[in-house]
């Protein structure tokens, strides 16, 4: 099988830092926000997304009755498709895939649906039920654009973005599609925030009574919950060249997993070094590599014998799309065109993920 070179030609996000339309500007580091979407016993903070009406930004987007996750997926994918210069009307929909990564799926409406059951017998809303399903964001995107190729939703905790990009690369490299909208994201709801709180996992800044403490860019022992959605367009170099698309980055490789101990078996502490070592096999010795690792600075190590430049990640909080968002932010802040950038995500108790790209080495 002839390897197919893959490139990223579009990117957008709905984040705590606002709506990112493309990679032309470095995203601002978002401030911690006081949560107001549900009653809290005192000030509670997280990286939350300000209310947004997708149709105000991309006219024609119809998101009524959708979960916020689906609405964000529609908006982020529409902006990414615009950024990539894809005309959905003339695109071959059968060759366009949609791959969505999410840790938790459509939590807003799943909670609303579950919450309707207050007494026996349970009765339910038939309009609401389908919108609670985790694959609806990816399905709405497919329907909106007429993308009839492979459509997959994967769940891999906070490395769901890496998992989605890796699966999309698989569709493209095995010839099952030529272009993929890759999405990753999650929403934050009361039950989830209070689960973090009850588990003792929240960073003190999330619970402070006064002004928010400065949040460390990464903290291994505690976390700041986040929410949002990132979207990128991953396609074959041939597909991008046919359209004359601008290449934002060449996709070199990606990996995610729990790490493997010397005795065999999973070892979370080895996860990021494992991922880095795997990816650097694709990079010739002596090549400068800049790394931005989100989710736990204490867990970051380079591969043995390789020195990596460091790029502090922008903290958007912990959620399933953080890896993809981190990748976009890292691409905009890479030292120069042609830089090799490794964007990673660590889950202290789970898997690590990393994505390796070479930034904008091809002009339009």
């Amino acid at each position: 099988m002839r390897p197919r070179d893959l490139v990223i030609t579009g990117f957008a996000a709905v984040s705590a830092g606002g709506v990112l339309r493309n990679l032309d500007a470095t995203p601002d580091a978002p401030p911690l926000q006081v949560i107001s979407r549900w009653p809290t016993p005192g000030p509670r903070r997280a990286f939350v997304v300000a209310p947004v009406q997708p149709a105000d930004i991309v006219p024609g987007l119809r998101t009524r009755r959708m979960d916020r996750l689906s609405a964000w997926a529609m908006l982020a994918s529409a902006l990414a498709v615009q950024d990539a210069g894809i005309d959905p009307a003339s695109a071959d929909g059968d060759r366009h895939a949609v791959v969505f990564g999410t840790a938790l799926g459509c939590l807003d409406l799943a909670a609303e649906f579950f919450g309707t059951f207050r007494s026996v017998p349970w009765t339910a809303d038939p309009i609401l039920f389908p919108e609670t399903l985790g694959n609806q964001p990816g399905s709405h995107v497919a329907k909106h654009f007429g993308f009839r190729g492979p459509n997959l939703t994967v769940a891999a905790g906070n490395v769901s973005g890496e998992a989605a990009l890796c699966q999309a690369a698989g569709f493209l490299r095995t010839g099952q599609a030529d272009c993929a909208v890759v999405l990753a994201g999650d929403t934050l709801i009361q039950s989830l925030f209070e689960w973090y709180e009850a588990s003792g996992r929240l960073h003190p800044s999330c619970l402070g009574l006064g002004e928010a403490d400065p949040v460390p860019a990464a903290a291994a022992e505690s976390l700041v919950p986040g929410e949002g959605m990132a979207a990128c367009i991953l396609e074959t170099a041939e597909s991008a060249a046919r359209r004359g698309a601008r290449v934002r980055a060449s996709y070199l490789d990606g990996w995610f997993g729990p790490g493997t101990s010397a005795m065999g078996g999973a070892e979370p502490a080895a996860a990021m070094p494992d991922a880095v070592a795997r990816l650097l096999e694709a990079v010739p010795p002596g090549t400068a590599v800049t790394a931005a690792v989100a989710g736990g600075a204490g867990w970051f190590e380079g591969a043995p014998g390789r020195r990596l430049g460091r790029l502090n990640p922008i903290d958007f909080g912990v959620f399933g799309g953080m890896g993809l968002l981190n990748l976009g932010a890292a691409i905009t802040r890479a030292p120069s065109a042609g830089s090799v950038v490794l964007a990673g995500t660590v889950e202290p108790e789970g898997q690590a993920g990393a994505l390796l790209v070479r930034t904008g080495d091809t002009a339009r």
Binding site: T102, T132, G134, N151, V154, A198, G265
Partner: protein, 407 residues
């Protein structure tokens, strides 16, 4: 699209309403036993009284993962253990083995509405462990931890195609050279929330379902799990593994039409089937059996029939099709994986399993809806088809281990 890699099946595992193990499944199917019965595994909070496919024996899982194990997790672990034991994969292969498992409800089975009414009070009462099993990815994490699988852990959440697409995703990983051995499948336990959802859509048949019957009136929800060990062919041969069959082709598509209803002409499903046949190098005429999605809902079954008519037009005789959901119900995120196992069992044991209760089948000159008793067959290739909410379609083509390409 050529087949990117040769994939052997070296292990099967299942937990179904017939009990633990693929042997119980094969026995139940061969005997034509209806396993759809009035709901009894939990107290029914609904106004309706559904009949379901339920696993009534205790799901004892002695596991030291340290993780909270929901009913869905326990079903998955039992199925996966059987598959891995059957494949007899060694420690080195396990250390790098990805686990890719589909589910739709995961640990929602173990939660109560209080978790959204007053979450803090709920967590004070139960602790935080039950809710830790809510993410679909938790099922794969539990199985990987239980079996010492050290590769990537992925949940697949694509409604009722989840189980089939988990196999496809794992196959892609092998095709890309990211794994030589992968464990894939699906698991879903019965869940009152899901039953309430399908009841609200008026999609439940109050009696055992009648897929492809003109008098069909809905589906029955079921529970279960299945797991399959997929392995790069030369790796399986080199270690002397018993090869149970070949995953020769896999493909997926999306209708891009509607959140719940399928394309009534079956175009998306047909595209997935054609692509999987093309990848497999198998002609439509060589397919000896299709295990259908066959839910028993009025819209699904006719759309599916039209899809078969598109793909199998021009072959010498009608294509044999059945729905094994008529035995155990619709196991949602596990269905595609359980039906893949059933298809493989049919290939290996030379049996076609008919649809139960099929007295007045839909009529099509291109489709033979199997009814009556199990039929002996010498088929060399078979297909398993899945579809789901969100317009998702999946098709898997299996061939016997000794089959050559028949394009």
């Amino acid at each position: 699209m050529p087949r990117p890699v040769e994939i052997a099946i070296t292990g099967l595992g299942a937990v179904t309403p017939y009990g633990v193990g693929w042997e119980a499944l094969l026995d139940g199917l061969t005997r034509g036993e209806n396993a759809i019965t009035p709901l009894s595994v939990f107290e029914n909070p609904l106004a309706v009284h559904p009949v379901v496919g339920q696993v009534t024996q205790p799901l004892n899982v002695d596991s030291d993962t340290g993780l909270y194990l929901s009913r869905t997790d326990r079903l998955a672990i039992l199925a996966a253990r059987q598959a891995v034991a059957m494949a007899a994969i060694g420690a080195d292969d396990r250390a790098a083995c990805p686990v890719v498992l589909g589910s739709t409800v995961a640990g929602l089975t173990d939660l109560v509405p209080e978790v959204v009414h007053d979450p803090a009070a709920y967590y004070r009462r139960t602790g935080t462990r039950p809710a830790s099993s809510y993410p679909v990815g938790h099922v794969a994490a539990c199985v990987a931890a239980d079996l010492g699988c050290g590769g990537p852990r992925i949940g697949v959440n694509v409604a009722c195609s989840s189980g089939a697409l988990a196999l496809a995703a794992a196959a892609n990983m092998i095709a890309e050279g990211r794994a030589t051995v992968a464990l894939a499948g699906g698991s879903d336990a019965l869940c009152a929330v899901t039953l309430a959802g399908f009841a609200s859509l008026q999609a439940l048949d109050s009696q055992p379902c009648r897929p492809f019957s003109r008098s069909r009136s809905g589906l029955n929800v079921g529970e279960g799990a299945a797991a399959v060990v997929l392995e790069e062919w030369t790796h399986a041969r080199a270690r002397g593994a018993v090869i149970l069959g070949r995953l020769a082709g896999w493909a997926s598509s999306n209708d891009a039409l509607h959140p719940t209803a399928p394309d009534d002409q079956g175009r998306g499903l047909a595209r997935a089937m054609r692509l999987s046949l093309e990848m497999a190098g198998v002609a439509p005429a060589a397919i000896g059996y299709v295990n259908a999605h066959g839910t028993g809902t009025p819209l699904n079954d006719v759309a599916e029939m039209r899809g078969y008519e598109r793909v199998f037009a021009g072959r010498p005789g009608p294509v044999p099709v059945s729905s094994t959901k008529s035995y155990i119900g619709h196991t949602l995120g596990a269905a595609g994986a359980i039906e893949a196992v059933i298809t493989l069992l049919g290939l290996r044991h030379g049996l076609l399993f008919p649809t139960l209760r099929l007295a007045e089948p839909e009529e099509s000159p291109l489709v033979e809806f199997l009814a009556g008793a199990p039929r002996p067959t010498s088929m060399r290739a078979a297909m398993s088809v899945s579809a789901g909410f969100g317009g998702t379609n999946a098709s898997l083509v299996f061939t016997r281990a000794d089959a050559e390409d028949e394009s």
